[in-house]
């Protein structure tokens, strides 16, 4: 009994001191939406360094990456957070897709295994997030099981969401369709690669994390 009480107190005080101090901001979405490109853009803007490597081959990020104590300043305000870049969430991971991209079979199977573990880890970490940036490729159909499941679960957990439609620099980008799919959230269209519309992005980030 004393043990339970001690653990409760410990947790209570940890949570008390955790508040406001280290906001965890997660980047979530399907593979190849541009989560790491956006993470790199944020880190470059405020720390002058990259966060992780990017690739055209899906599931480049297969482990949770954390960049601690990023402080962004915008219009006289300041926001401090830990940025958590997560592996892309998918319903199907097939090593043959990696072989098509030029990988050897053994490497492709290893990547598939790591990507699967990555999905599990991403989901596991969701409850630890104080706010989430959902990064979707605005050139792709937004009505997918992955997108709907991620957003539905964030809503159910009452986690503040910033919905980002990435790759607006591409002709096929369709923000209207994306906004129609998720009308409950304000959508910010950006190009993380070219740094387009980042001011609006940071402005909205302040809104959802206040």
């Amino acid at each position: 009994m004393a043990g339970i009480f001690k653990r409760f107190l410990g947790k209570f005080f940890r949570n008390l001191f955790k508040k406001k101090k280290d906001i965890k901001l997660g980047l979530y979405g399907p593979p190849n939406g541009g989560k790491t490109t956006l993470a790199n853009k944020i880190c470059q803007d405020w720390l002058g360094e990259d966060m992780g490597s990017v690739s055209n081959v899906a599931h480049e990020t297969r482990e949770i990456q954390i960049k601690e104590e990023i402080t962004i300043k915008h219009k006289g305000r300041e926001l401090k957070f830990n940025l958590v870049d997560t592996p892309g969430i998918a319903t199907r991971i097939d090593y043959e897709e990696f072989i098509k991209e030029g990988m050897k079979e053994k490497e492709a199977k290893e990547r598939a295994k790591e990507a699967t573990k990555g999905v599990i880890d991403s989901i596991k970490w969701l409850d630890d997030m104080d706010a989430v940036i959902v990064v979707l490729d605005s050139t792709k159909d937004p009505y997918t099981q992955v997108n709907i499941t991620i957003i539905g679960n964030l809503e159910a957990r009452n986690i503040p969401v910033l919905l980002v439609g990435n790759k607006v620099d591409l002709k096929k980008s369709d923000l209207k369709k994306m906004q129609a799919a998720f009308p409950q959230y304000e959508l910010i269209g950006i190009s993380a690669k070219f740094g387009k519309n980042m001011d609006d992005f940071y402005e909205t980030l302040f809104k959802i994390t206040k």
Partner: protein, 117 residues
């Protein structure tokens, strides 16, 4: 395949395996109509190794593990299908091999790994 309360589940399979999964009657009937995937012994061993790799070192490979839900299907090494709805619910993580051949509870492993953090 062993029936309910079989000693083999406690002692381990005659093949030496200690990883079991529970198949509901309804699932078994459904599977009879599905395409059967034939895996070689090497493929089976590889999948088992992959699953233990994904789960991490906290899983005791010596203890029999029996579970029932399917959150992750492994059709063959490197081919995974994930049931996101179950995964987000935090329900036991189950790996299906072949006709749903093996399964692992990751809720337990999650809580253990979280305690370590």
């Amino acid at each position: 395949m062993y029936g309910d309360a079989s000693n083999k589940i406690i002692e381990g399979c005659t093949c030496g395996g200690k990883l079991f999964f529970y198949i509901k009657k309804s699932a078994l009937e459904k599977r009879e109509n599905e395409e059967q995937i034939i895996l070689s012994k090497k493929d089976k061993e590889q999948i088992e190794k992959d699953v233990y790799d994904i789960l991490g070192p906290q899983i005791d490979t010596e203890k029999p593990i029996v579970l029932d839900l399917e959150s992750i299907k492994i059709k063959k090494p490197g081919k995974y299908e994930l049931d996101l709805v179950n995964l987000f619910k935090g329900q036991p993580l189950v790996y299906k091999l072949e006709e749903g051949k093996y399964v692992i509870d990751v809720v337990e492993s999650f809580s253990r790994s979280k305690d370590k953090e």
